[in-house]
């Protein structure tokens, strides 16, 4: 019943493989790009130096955040003599890592739908109770009070006024036209309407070599955690880039996820230029033949002009180094978020070119109705949801099931 992880990833087609990877060589350097003529260097220090030169300084960002200026050195414990600059996990940790397919299977057998419903929790009971009562009382489509209650219910789940008005308007219209008389029919119609509002291209494109996924969002929405979880489901090998160089212990948090999931992590010291980290990580991912590179970024409020400019810089540096990348730009949105989520999504879409939303923390009392508003008003599809703290609580988004969970089993 749940959407399978297997169909979630858009992988390489045979044709693409025959033609080789999308990018065969380093792109033409530009004034802002790596100096020199761009062939792969094996000299670690040279790579590091180039990477440092490759991106503009982080001054404007530092000005906003007043952090110590970055030093152009590798983090000491990241380089062992004769080793790559990525921190490789302990062998024992790698063994513990479960194969993504088996994780996926186990969770599918448990049923994430049940978990989601359980997650939507006790508040959902009252919510569904209200809707149940409303539907039970439903007599005819011209009953104003009935529609007001449906509106109320949607607004109480953070769907917001404009999207609620649109949805209820459509429902009312359709209920009239198809002369719906029973609550059950109406429920089905509600779910259908919400589903079609939520439906979008849900697949995650991992067909590139390497595929670069950029994780963005405001503070505390679960970027780092989601990267850790997502890596367990990705086909092929993964690598993390610790692009949150600002928040205290953000790098350590990602490194712990690296150990936990057996994923190498490219990191620099705190306060380093995030774009430089991304640049180095792409270089490392290509050298190591990594399939998917997940780049973490610092949480930022969409209203901070300098921080949004920094994000734009990260994206541009990635794009310049690997044309076509980042292949996915995913934004985490906390399910407890109210209407401000719309502005968040709008701004991140403008600056970072979002390809999808990840709705996190659906295990609380929040119903995540903001997802409906974002899909409707901003037009970015929801790709993943997280219904708990465990790795297997991350799921590909299924519009129909989300709508069902939202409206409950009337």
């Amino acid at each position: 019943m749940a959407r399978s992880w297997r169909s979630f990833f858009k992988r390489n087609t045979d044709e693409e493989q025959a033609n080789g990877p999308v990018v065969a060589s380093e792109p033409e350097p530009t004034t802002e790009d790596v100096e020199g003529n761009g062939h792969l260097s094996t000299d670690l220090e040279a790579v590091a130096d180039k990477a440092a030169e490759a991106v503009p300084t982080a001054e404007e960002v530092q000005a906003e955040r007043k952090e110590p200026a970055p030093a152009d050195v590798w983090e000491a414990d990241e380089i062992e003599p004769g080793e790559a600059e990525v921190s490789l996990p302990e062998p024992s940790a790698v063994e513990e890592v479960q194969d993504a397919e088996s994780v996926a299977e186990r969770q599918e057998s448990e049923g994430w739908f049940g978990k989601l419903r359980q997650g939507l929790g006790r508040s959902r009971d009252s919510f569904v109770g209200q809707l149940n009562a409303a539907v039970a009382e439903f007599r005819d489509v011209e009953d104003e009070e009935f529609w007001e209650r449906v509106e109320e219910i949607l607004i109480a789940s953070d769907v917001g006024v404009p999207t609620t008005a649109k949805l209820v308007g459509e429902l009312e219209q359709e209920a009239l036209e198809s002369s719906i008389t029973s609550g059950a029919e109406l429920r089905e119609l509600m779910i259908e309407r919400a589903t079609s509002m939520l439906e979008g291209p849900v697949e995650l494109d991992v067909s590139h070599e390497p595929t670069v996924i950029l994780m963005v969002g405001v503070n505390g929405t679960g970027k780092t955690t989601t990267i850790g979880k997502l890596s367990r489901f990705l086909p092929g090998t993964a690598m993390f880039a610790a692009g949150d160089t600002f928040r205290a212990a953000a790098i350590e948090q990602l490194q712990q996820w690296g150990e936990r999931t057996g994923t190498p992590v490219v990191a620099r010291e705190r306060g380093a230029d995030a774009a430089a980290v991304a640049h180095e990580a792409i270089h490392a991912a290509r050298r190591e033949g990594t399939d998917v590179l997940l780049i973490d970024t610092a949480g930022r409020l969409h209203t901070k002009v300098n921080l949004m400019a920094e994000l734009d810089k990260v994206r541009r540096v990635v794009e310049r180094q690997l044309p076509g990348a980042p292949h996915e730009v995913l934004m985490t949105v906390d399910a407890t978020t109210g209407q401000n989520g719309l502005r968040q999504a709008q701004m991140f879409k403008e600056v970072a070119g979002l390809t999808g939303i990840i709705l996190t923390k659906l295990d609380g009392t929040a119903k995540g109705g903001i997802a409906l508003a974002i899909a409707n008003e901003v037009g970015v599809p929801i790709k993943l949801i997280s219904v708990g703290e465990k790795v297997e609580d991350l799921h590909p988004f299924d519009a129909r099931e989300f709508a069902e969970a939202l409206f409950g089993d009337l």
Partner: protein, 443 residues
């Protein structure tokens, strides 16, 4: 995206002028607008219903004041009702008579507890206290390291026992350590938790019982939507908090959550956490929040100030002139001097409904205003009344010399002034709110 409440009310009450009472029909229109504004600001649905009912009661039959437009009048009622609900003064910290004072932080994941812990430590140190942090988040990867790094930055000691022991035990021993070390303010950071996770909610109750804090603060992200009410109620049940910290206030969320949680829990918001810098933390001033929720700025403050400083008839005459496009540099100067009496420009403009949003990312420099003033005072009376004369370069050069500006500055001012005249004239015909030229802010 959203109209401010002030604008909405003015629209709803368009045409209602002068004295008399608000009619039932007008009140209905008005309460509908208030309801929508509150919902868009994420105020909980149930809270909105109650709130609107009380506003309706007061607005019905309310006498329309001569000094205020009917819209402003209703805004005033709304504001007073908000103040009733949220209180009007800040809640200052109180300290235990037998130190250390123990404060425990609790909340959902990602709402900013650990950052708030660091900020609170710095805040109390500025009040002369000697803070001590205790790391009880044994779940999230690197949460302890995060608190340690913050502690190092602030030179505040951090008590940790790693992720092994139970949080309630860590808390107890941490407080003991603090007491023995002579620290008089202990801040206990706890793990983020979801309120449906009963195990975790029982845990926070145990941490509370073990640490016997003098104060428990619920840390709440200002973007939180409708379910803030359920979250707050659950934390009230399990952690029995006595106040809240509202975080990430530097974003542009309306923050209706503040109204929701205060109204259902009866607990005040005590602290406002603004940004990512450790110093951006202060007592919470509820009156500031009321304006933000409704996007009406401190419109009342503006109204009051304006009433004090400006004769209303004169203001109306000015306004008419403004809209007619016959506005001169002389009028401009007069207005600027009036504005100056009312306080710093950036603050003032933020109070104007509709401008707050446009000016959000614009930094207004009062010095710029001073430069403009210098240029105008360097003009002859004739020039002030007839800005066309200033197209003559030698006049512009003279004014530049007289005011310490460049000739380009003068030309720019004249150009902007013309644009403003045009815009004002348009507005007089019913256009929108214009940008304010001559104050070209930086992005």
């Amino acid at each position: 995206m959203f109209d401010t409440l002030g604008e909405r009310l003015n629209k709803a009450l368009d045409g209602v002028r002068g004295s008399g009472n608000l009619t039932e029909e007008q009140v209905k229109k008005v309460t509908r607008e208030i309801r929508l504004a509150l919902l868009e600001a994420d105020v909980n649905y149930g809270v909105v219903k109650e709130f609107v009912a009380s506003v309706r009661e007061r607005a019905t039959g309310a006498e329309v004041s001569k000094a205020l437009s009917p819209g402003q009048q209703v805004v005033k009622i709304v504001d007073e009702e908000l103040a009733n609900l949220m209180g009007s003064t800040a809640h200052k910290l109180s300290f235990a008579s037998r130190p250390p004072t123990v404060v425990m932080l609790a909340g959902l994941n990602g709402h900013g507890k650990t950052t708030a812990a660091g900020k609170l430590a710095l805040f109390v140190r500025k009040l002369g206290k000697n803070p001590y942090l205790v790391a009880c988040d044994t779940y999230r990867p690197a949460a302890i390291e995060q608190l340690q790094q913050i502690g190092r930055e602030l030179s505040v000691p951090v008590y940790t026992e790693g992720t092994g022991p139970k949080p309630e035990e860590i808390a107890e021993r941490g407080i003991r350590e603090a007491r023995d070390g002579g620290y008089d303010f202990v801040i206990i950071d706890t793990a983020g938790r979801q309120v449906v996770d009963m195990e975790m909610m029982e845990e926070i109750r145990r941490v509370r019982n073990a640490s016997k804090p003098h104060s428990v603060l619920l840390v709440l992200d200002v973007v939180t939507g409708q379910n803030a009410v359920e979250v707050a109620q659950a934390f009230q049940e399990y952690a029995d908090f006595d106040g809240m910290v509202l975080t990430k206030l530097d974003g542009d969320a309306r923050g209706g959550v503040a109204l929701s949680v205060v109204s259902v829990t009866g607990r005040p918001i005590k602290f406002a956490s603004e940004g990512e810098k450790m110093g951006e933390f202060d007592y919470f001033y509820p009156d500031r929040m009321a304006g933000r929720i409704l996007g009406m700025g401190d419109v009342l403050t503006l109204i009051e100030k304006a009433e004090q400083q400006m004769d209303r008839t004169e203001a109306e005459a000015q306004g008419k002139k403004l809209m007619s496009g016959k506005f001169t540099f002389e009028d401009f100067l007069q207005q600027m001097q009036m504005i100056k009496k009312m306080g710093p420009l950036s603050g003032l403009l933020g109070m104007v409904p509709g401008l707050g949003k446009q000016l959000k990312d614009v930094e207004i420099d009062d010095r710029q205003l001073a430069r403009v003033e210098a240029m105008i005072t360097s003009m002859t009376i004739k020039e002030r009344r007839n800005p066309k004369l200033l197209q003559n370069p030698s006049r512009a050069r003279r004014i530049a010399r007289g005011s310490g500006a460049t000739q380009q500055d003068v030309q720019k001012l004249v150009k902007q002034f013309k644009e403003m005249q045009k815009m004002m004239a348009q507005m007089g015909k019913g256009g929108g709110i214009p940008r304010i030229p001559g104050l070209s802010g930086r992005r």
